[in-house]
Subunit: 612 residues, 2 copies
C-alpha cells in the first residue's frame, strides 16, 4: 500500500490506512471471513462494475461474504492506496482510495466507524474507472491529430470521418446501437467513442437537441449547471444556472459534432429482435435521407441500449367521452406551448412538474386555466432545493472549495440507497421551515401537499418513482392566489365541451392537457422488441422501497438501469443530466469489456418482481 | 498592501513585498521620481491598457518617468497585493501581483533584481483584466437563465435571440463591426458579447470555420493544443495535439453558436468611411440571404476592427509571361489541395510553411514537384519546437505543474520584446544541436538555411515579419532526399509551359503555385477604406527590429496591433490562436471602455514610420 503524505498523519488517518492494509492482506490471502470482519455489523458495500460486473449493493457481513466469495478470485484486487489525508468528523473517518483489479483501475470512498473498539467500514464504494490496455486517449495520451512525415496513403481526418459516415450501418455494423439521442444517448455515445467501441446513436428527431427544442417554449432546466455537465466537455463558466431549453439543444448538437459521435437523426426504430445463437440483434430502422427520402435499413449490433427517456412512454388515460369532446386534447409531452391558447379555457389534468410549467405558461399568455389535482403533490422551491439539497456538492461554493464534478458524483454515489432517506429527511425539514409561509398559502388555497411517504422529499421520490413533485419556479403562486383555478378528484368523463369530475364538477374546456406522467421504460422494449422481452426484463427504475408507486421487495439499486438485464445484450440508460453523465461511464465500461472479449461474469443479476 | 500567506515568507519574498509597498507609497504620493527610482537602470515596463489605454513598453527610468507623468493622476493605482509567494532563482525574484486603478482591476508580473544593494524592477508587466461595474457574468455572477416567477411579458431565450437577429444591422446598429470571422474575429466577438458590447462579426465565407475548411486538405495546426485555446471554452482534454483543419473549423462553428456571437457569414464588405463629425463609420456590406439572394446593407458602427488575417492580402508576383502560360497558376491561399494534380508537373515558388505543406501533399498524390527557393529559410522540426520552444509554458507537463493558460499568456507577455531574442537564441541553439543530422542533410541537398538575422529563430521571425520559416512536419525530408526537386533563384518569366529562372533554368509546369506570402494588413484598409487611411495608419505587424523585412526604428510593440491607430476608431486584430485569445481581452476592454463612455486618453499613440 502506497502512502504519499508529507505531513505526519493524524491518528484517524493512520488508523484508516491500517484498515486498508488489513483489507488488502485479507483479500490477498483470499480470506473472505477476515475481510468481512473488517465491515461493521450494519454496513453497505456498493460496487459499480469493479468487482461485480454489475451495479449492486450488498449489506452487512453476510452480503460482503457473498460478494467476495463470488468475485474475489477473478477480481484479484490489489494496490489499495489512500492518496489524500482521510477526514474525521462526527466519529466517521472518510477516506478516498484507489485500487487495481485483474483487468482495470478503480477508485472508491469509504466511511469507517468505531465498533467494538475496532475501525470498521460502514459504507464502502468501489468503482471501476478504466480497463487496462483500453485507457481513454486523454491528456498525455491524447491523439496527435496531424500525421507527421510523408505518406502516399494519407487519409485526412475529414476523409476518415466521411468514409466512416458512408460505411456505418451498411458495410460496417455498430457494436452498440443506442436508441435515443437525448442527453443520455449522447453522453453514452461520447464515452463509447472515447473507448473506441463502434457505436451508433439514433433518434427520431431531425437534429441532436430537438428533444429539448420541441418542448414547451418556457422550459428551462430545473437542475442547476453544476449538476448538469456532460462528460469531457464541461459547460463554460458563463453558462446560465438554469439553461433555457433551446440553449441546451444547441449545446447538445455542438457536443455531438465536437465529440465525433456517430448520430443518425430522423431515424425511427421499427423492430428489434435478438438472435441468441448469433449473439446479435436485428434492428430495422427507417431513416430520413438528406433529401427527406425515407430509407429502411437493417442494423446488426451486438448490444442494444434503450436511452429513450427514463420517463418512458406517455401515460394517456382512456376516458369516456374523449371521442365526443370537440376541443383539443393532448398529453403534456405533445403540448406545443401556450401561444395559440390566449383567451381559451384550458383544463390541465395533473399537478406535478409538467402540469405547473404548462399552467404557468398558459396563464402568462392569457388562457383561463384550471388544474385538476388528483392526488397530493410534493413541492419544493427551486432556490431552497439548490441551497439546501444540492449546495454542498453542486454549487459555485462547492466548486470554489475544490469539489470537482467527478468527486461530487462519487460522494453522491457512496450514500447507500437503503439509508439515503435518513440523510434526506432533515434537509426537507429545513426547507419546510424556511418556506413555511409558502406552504401555508398553498394549503389555504386547497392544494394537497405531501413530502413523500416518509418525509424524505423530492430526490427520493425521483429515485423511487420518478414522479409526484414540482420544483417551484413561480407557478405555484398562481394556484395559491387563485389565478390558476384548482379542482380536485379523478376525471369521470368528457362532454363535447367540458371535463366532468367524479363529484360532478363540470370544467368547461377548449383544450385538455393530460399531464398524467409516463409508464416504465420497459414499455419501449414492449413496442420495439416484444411484450415477452419487456416482461422478462421487468419494470425499469425504482428501488423497491415499498412506498407509493415503488412496490417492494427491496432492490438495493435502481431496477435495470445501466446494468445487465434478464435479456442478454439489452440495456437501459437515462435519467437526468447528472445520472446520464455519471452512469454512462459504468455502462460504457461494461460494453467495452464485452467488445474487447473480457470475461464479464455478472454477480447478482437483476431479478424481476414486477413486469411493468 | 494585503499579505495572504500562512507560512513565514522567505527573505526574498519579504523584500519583494517591501518593494511593492515602496512602489505603492511613491505612487500614492504622486512622487514619480521616487517611483522611477525603484526601477533598475536598464528596465522595461510593459503596460497592457491598465495605465496607458494602449499596448506599450517604456524603457529605463526615463521611460517610467514619462509614462507615470502622463498617466499617474488619472490611473490612480492602488491596492498592490502579492497573493502568492514570490520565487527567487538566479538572482531574479519573480512576483505575481494584483492592483486596482481608478476604473478597473489589474494583474501583473514583476522581475526584481539587486542593483546598488537595492531591489529594483527589471521587468514590470501591468495588465487590465476588468472594468469596475462592467465585470463579466461568469462563475458566481453567471446569468440565471430561467426567469423564475410569473410574467405576462416573458420573452424566452430563443425569442430574444431571434429578435436580436432580425433587428441587428437594420433597426439596431452594432457598436463594433468586426470584419473577418476567423479565430481572431471570433475570439473578439466572444469577449465583446461577454462585456455586453453590441457587436457584429462578418465574414465572406458562408459558415464560421470555412476559413480553415477551405484550405488545402492535409493542413493541421502547426501550434499544439495547449497554445491554441480560445477564451472561456478550452478544448477538452481529448483534443488532438495538432488539430486537423476541418476539426478546428467545426469547433469554431460550434463556438460561435455556444458563445452566442452575432455572426454574418456570406458577407462582403464593399466600402467603409469614417465620419469624424458623427464619430461613426458607414460600412456598405453585401450579404447572402438564407436563399442566397444578395442584399446590400449599410451598417453604422462606432468602431471598426479589421480581423482579416494578420497575414494580410496575398502577394502575387507580377511576372512576364503569366498571360501566355497555358497551365494553371494561383496563389498558395487559393490552392485547392493536391487531388487534381497526380502525374502533373508542379512548380511551387517559395520555400516557407505553405510551400512545404503544398509540396508535401502534391508529392503524396503523385505529382512531379519542384520547389523554387528564392531566399534562405529557417526550418525547425515540430517536435523540437514543441519541447524546447513551448514546453515550459504550453504542454501537458506545464498543465500538470499547475501552469494555467492565463498564467502562461502573462509570463509570455512579460518578456520585453527588446530582449526577447536573447531568451530565444539559446533555445534555437539547442534545436540546431539536437537536429544537426537533419540540417546537414538539408544543406547537402542544396537547401539554404538561416536562423534569423541574429540566430533568434522562429518566434522572433514571426513577430518581426510573420514569414521566413517552416515548422517541419515531414515535408523537408522530401527535399533532402530529392523527391521534391529544388531550384534556386528568382523567377524571370513564364513561357507557355514552363517557369524560367533568372539563371536560365527552365522548369516545365502544368501548375504554378505562388507561395509568395502576404502583404501588410493595412492593405485591407486600403481596399476597404482608402489608400489615404492605409497610409495614415501605416504598416501593421513587426517590431522595428531593423532585421530583414522589419525595418526600424524600434517600436517596442507590434505595430498597430490590438491598440489605437492614427485612424480614430480603426483597429487591427489577429495573429495565431494564442494571440487571438490573449490580446482579444485588451482590445475588448478598450472597446468596452469607449462604449461605456469612460475617458480613454492614449499614452504613446502609434507613430508611423512605414506606410506599407
Amino acid at each position: 500500500m502506497t502512502q504519499t503524505l508529507d505531513a505526519p498523519p493524524t491518528t484517524a488517518a493512520r488508523r484508516a490506512r491500517d484498515w486498508f492494509t488489513a483489507l488488502e492482506d485479507a483479500l490477498r490471502a483470499r480470506d473472505v471471513e477476515r475481510a468481512a470482519g473488517l465491515f461493521a455489523r450494519t454496513s453497505f458495500w456498493r460496487d459499480l462494475v469493479a468487482f461485480s460486473w454489475n451495479i449492486t449493493t450488498v449489506e452487512d457481513r453476510a452480503g460482503v461474504t457473498d460478494l467476495l466469495t463470488a468475485t474475489l478470485d477473478r477480481t484479484d484486487p490489489s494496490g489499495f492506496a489512500v492518496p489524500d489525508e482521510p477526514e474525521e468528523a462526527d466519529g466517521v473517518t472518510t477516506a478516498w482510495f484507489t485500487f487495481e483489479t485483474a483487468v482495470g483501475r478503480g477508485r472508491g470512498l469509504a466511511r469507517l466507524v468505531e465498533e467494538d473498539g475496532e475501525l470498521r467500514a460502514w459504507t464502502f464504494l468501489t468503482t471501476l474507472y478504466e480497463l487496462r490496455g483500453h485507457e481513454e486517449p486523454r491528456g498525455p495520451a491524447r491523439p496527435k491529430g496531424a500525421e507527421h512525415g510523408v505518406n502516399r496513403d494519407r487519409q485526412t481526418w475529414a476523409e476518415r470521418r466521411a468514409r466512416e459516415a458512408v460505411e456505418l450501418g451498411r458495410t460496417t455494423q455498430p457494436y452498440v446501437l443506442v436508441v435515443g439521442g437525448g442527453q443520455g444517448g449522447i453522453a453514452l455515445g461520447a464515452r463509447l467513442r472515447q473507448l473506441d467501441v463502434p457505436a451508433l446513436v439514433v433518434d427520431r428527431h431531425a437534429r441532436p437537441g430537438d428533444q429539448w427544442r420541441s418542448r414547451y417554449k418556457s422550459l428551462c432546466l430545473h437542475d442547476p449547471v453544476w449538476y448538469d455537465h456532460l462528460p469531457y466537455l464541461p459547460f463554460p463558466d458563463n453558462w446560465p444556472v438554469f439553461a433555457p431549453k433551446d440553449k441546451i439543444g444547441d449545446w447538445l448538437e455542438s457536443y455531438v459534432k465536437v465529440m465525433e459521435i456517430p448520430y443518425w437523426g430522423g431515424t425511427e426504430v421499427r423492430s428489434a429482435h435478438y438472435d441468441d445463437a448469433a449473439g446479435e440483434w436485428t434492428v430495422v430502422v427507417v431513416r430520413d435521407g438528406p433529401g427527406h427520402e425515407r430509407e429502411e435499413l437493417t442494423l446488426r449490433p451486438k448490444q442494444l441500449v434503450l436511452a429513450t427517456g427514463m420517463s418512458g412512454k406517455p401515460n394517456v388515460p382512456v376516458l369516456p367521452g374523449q371521442d365526443v369532446f370537440r376541443g383539443e386534447q393532448h398529453h403534456s409531452s405533445a403540448h406545443p406551448g401556450p401561444d395559440e391558447y390566449a383567451g381559451k379555457k384550458v383544463v390541465v389534468i395533473g399537478s406535478n412538474n409538467s402540469a405547473f410549467d404548462i399552467c404557468g405558461a398558459l396563464w402568462e399568455h392569457g388562457a383561463d386555466v384550471t388544474m385538476v389535482q388528483r392526488t397530493s403533490t410534493h413541492i419544493v422551491k427551486s432556490d431552497s432545493l439548490m441551497e439546501i439539497g444540492l449546495g454542498a456538492l453542486y454549487s459555485e461554493e462547492a466548486v470554489a472549495s475544490g469539489m470537482t464534478t467527478e468527486k461530487a458524483d462519487l460522494v453522491f454515489a457512496s450514500i447507500p440507497y437503503r439509508v439515503m432517506h435518513e440523510f434526506q429527511i432533515p434537509l426537507y425539514e429545513q426547507m419546510r421551515e424556511r418556506d413555511a409561509d409558502f406552504y401555508r398559502r398553498m394549503e389555504d388555497a386547497g392544494f394537497r401537499l405531501d413530502w413523500g411517504d416518509d418525509g424524505s422529499g423530492l430526490f427520493m421520490k425521483y429515485l423511487r418513482r420518478g414522479s409526484g413533485y414540482y420544483i417551484d419556479v413561480g407557478a405555484a403562486d398562481l394556484v395559491a392566489n387563485g389565478d390558476v383555478q384548482l379542482a380536485h378528484g379523478q376525471v369521470d368523463h368528457l362532454t363535447e365541451d367540458a371535463v366532468v369530475l367524479e363529484d360532478g364538477t363540470e370544467l368547461p374546456a377548449d383544450l385538455v392537457v393530460y399531464a398524467t406522467g409516463y409508464g416504465s421504460m420497459n414499455g419501449w422494449a414492449a413496442d420495439l422488441i416484444s411484450p415477452e422481452v419487456a416482461d422478462r426484463v421487468g419494470k425499469v427504475w425504482g428501488l423497491g422501497s415499498d412506498t407509493t408507486k415503488d412496490p417492494g421487495p427491496w432492490e438495493g439499486e435502481q431496477r435495470n438501469m445501466w446494468k445487465p438485464t434478464q435479456q442478454e445484450a439489452l440495456w437501459f440508460h437515462g435519467g437526468n443530466l447528472h445520472q446520464s453523465r455519471h452512469y454512462s461511464l459504468y455502462l460504457a465500461l461494461q460494453l467495452k469489456a464485452r467488445q474487447a472479449g473480457l470475461p464479464t461474469p455478472v454477480y447478482g443479476l437483476q431479478e424481476v418482481h414486477h413486469t411493468r
